[in-house]
């Protein structure tokens, strides 16, 4: 722990700057850069169920380890997926950011996120609560886990051709 500029340096401004940088990368679909924000462990999760966190034993909308994240980015950018070539354009807002806990080098942050997408001249909107587990590393903050809880995760969704 002593190696990290821990707790004392964790503040809302630093975390917010990081989350906004991630949001900016995602709206710009700079997915290769986005992959660099991750540690090698952990998951990008979009659960179906609204309660519980035993994601491995549940069906999820996405449950991506590093390998699946990599493959997902390849699919979205490979040019062979009709839904992602071209993808819907997106504009997102991350707000109501709260630092829940700081334990050693691990920061748990949650926020509200709204995403609007546009394709075929129609717009769709998504609202979600997002929780990040961020690691403080020598290279700065990294994402260990990102859990995206869509407001209607267990309801009728529409297909999504980009990343939340």
């Amino acid at each position: 722990m002593k190696d990290f500029p821990a707790q004392t340096d964790v503040n809302l401004a630093v975390v917010t700057e990081f989350l906004w940088m991630e949001a900016d990368l995602l709206d710009a679909k700079e997915y290769v850069e986005w992959l660099q924000l991750w540690t090698a462990t952990g998951h990008y999760v979009i659960p179906v169920e609204k309660e519980g966190d035993d994601f491995a034993n549940c069906l999820n909308i996405a449950y991506d380890n590093a390998l699946m994240r990599d493959m997902r980015v390849k699919r979205l950018q490979g040019g062979f997926s009709i839904s992602a070539a071209p993808p819907a354009e997106s504009v997102r807002t991350v707000s109501r950011i709260v630092i829940d806990s700081v334990e050693g080098s691990l920061i748990t942050v949650r926020a509200a996120q709204h995403v609007m997408e546009d394709k075929f001249g129609r717009q769709r909107s998504f609202a979600m609560n997002v929780t990040w587990k961020l690691e403080q590393t020598e290279e700065g903050l990294k994402i260990r886990d990102k859990i995206i809880r869509l407001l209607n995760s267990d309801g009728m969704l529409t297909s999504i051709s980009y990343l939340f």
Binding site: C58, Y63, S83, D154
Partner: protein
């Protein structure tokens, strides 16, 4: 109204020909209303799986056509399908998607219904005349039929027996359920998404192998070499599509996985090696092989008219919402009481392809929407062609057509049934 005189003046004979269907099939709101009445209002419609209502008092919301229904299991264990509508002034009596209860109570005036739909209690009965009989005001019941755990319902109390309706599809349903690997099949969760398309575009797609290497190229690219080989059915010559009658059909993509109990002795694929190793702690080698084969899923899509499919390793259920909108459910299935590692792998495989963010479904959804967009305006002089394989088909033991893997035999089967039901 008879379909001989649809508002557009087109009869079923003109809408459905053997080799093509007319664009109003995707576009005509009046035709959609007719379909809700004559198809979804009369035939057997898939509503759920018995594992979704496992215990006495379990319930699950579903739909038959446009109407919300409740699947409930009463105190005797019997399954009911009830219209989710209070008999007093029409409010839904339940808006919780699934759970357990002892009764359903309407929130409007407090009418209380038993799990079997009987009206049990109403507040302030003195406001009704003495001839008011609660027996007359139970929740509307649908006819229920269950085959291999799949629950079907019909508004038509005189509908033919479910087993007759399923007919030649029955042995395929039994084969499909072998994915339990010796355990009962249970649902593991579901993906749901809606698509701006007519429901029949989805009905066609489940028997369409032709699109797979094109639309799902990005999915195929994400597989390892062995798995890619498994999905190479368009380049193999042993797959086929068979008309099973009553609008049902089966598309066999991987004949080696028709009967999962027939162990062909092939080495366990690399992608299942870790799972197999895990299972060896608790199972002998024969059981490990059986479980691994079960996890991999079946090698066929069974399309059941009008709204269900047993597709490789999951249930694909469609629900028409309007002429231009359809809701899709991809229900994952697994082994009830089976090894957690096996069910985990089944869920990971399901997530890989299916659902709103799978590597396959979003591309399907995009194509279906494009079909609907291309059909806009009715295109009276341009038809939707389902003629692939015509003239090349053989005849099955059932006396019905069998085409090669990419033949549109299954679509022709579904449209033949569509025409028959709509003309009744």
């Amino acid at each position: 109204m008879s379909l001989d005189q649809t508002p557009g003046g087109i009869g079923t004979d003109d809408l459905v020909l053997n080799d093509r269907v007319k664009t109003p099939m995707y576009e005509d709101p009046a035709l959609f209303n007719e379909e809700m009445e004559k198809i979804f209002g009369k035939v057997w419609v898939w509503v759920g799986h018995t594992s979704e209502v496992p215990d006495k008092g379990s319930f699950k919301l579903s739909y038959v056509g446009l109407q919300p229904v409740i699947i409930s299991r009463d105190r005797k264990g019997e399954i009911h399908v009830l219209v989710n509508r209070c008999r007093h002034r029409a409010a839904t009596v339940c808006e919780i998607k699934k759970g357990k209860t002892s009764s359903f109570q309407c929130p409007y005036h407090g009418w209380g219904y038993a799990l079997n739909g009987e009206l049990r209690a109403i507040p302030y009965t003195e406001g009704y005349n003495t001839d008011f009989d609660k027996k007359d005001f139970g929740l509307k019941q649908l006819k229920v039929g269950i085959f291999e755990g799949m629950i079907f319902a019909s508004y038509n109390m005189d509908v033919e027996p479910l087993e007759d309706f399923l007919g030649n599809a029955k042995p395929w349903i039994k084969l499909f359920m072998k994915q339990g690997g010796g355990y009962p099949v249970k649902t593991l969760g579901e993906h749901q998404f809606k698509v701006p398309m007519n429901w029949k575009i989805q009905l066609e797609n489940t028997t369409d192998a032709y699109h797979f290497p094109i639309v799902h190229k990005s999915f195929l690219q994400s597989l390892d070499g062995e798995a890619t080989e498994t999905f190479s059915f368009m380049d193999d010559d042993d797959g086929y599509v068979e008309d099973l009658g009553n609008g049902h059909s089966v598309m066999v993509m991987m004949p080696e996985f028709i009967d999962l109990d027939n162990d062909d002795g092939a080495p366990i694929p690399e992608r299942f090696a870790e799972l197999a190793e895990d299972l060896r702690k608790d199972y002998d080698e024969a059981q490990v092989r059986r479980l691994v084969r079960a996890v991999g899923g079946c090698g066929f899509n069974l399309n059941l008219f009008p709204n269900a499919a047993c597709s490789l390793s999951f249930f694909r259920i469609l629900r028409p919402v309007s002429v231009h909108e359809t809701e899709i459910r991809h229900i994952a299935i697994g082994m009830d009481g089976g090894p957690a590692a096996a069910n985990q792998m089944r869920m990971r495989i399901h997530e890989h392809f299916q659902g709103p963010m799978g590597f396959g479904s979003p591309d399907d959804a995009e194509i279906w929407e494009r079909v609907q967009r291309g059909s806009a305006g009715g295109g009276e002089d341009i038809d939707v062609m389902v003629n692939r394989g015509l003239g090349l088909e053989k005849t099955s033991d059932n006396g019905l057509p069998v085409g090669d893997i990419s033949a549109e035999t299954g679509m022709r089967s579904a449209y033949k049934m569509w025409k028959k039901v709509m003309e009744q």
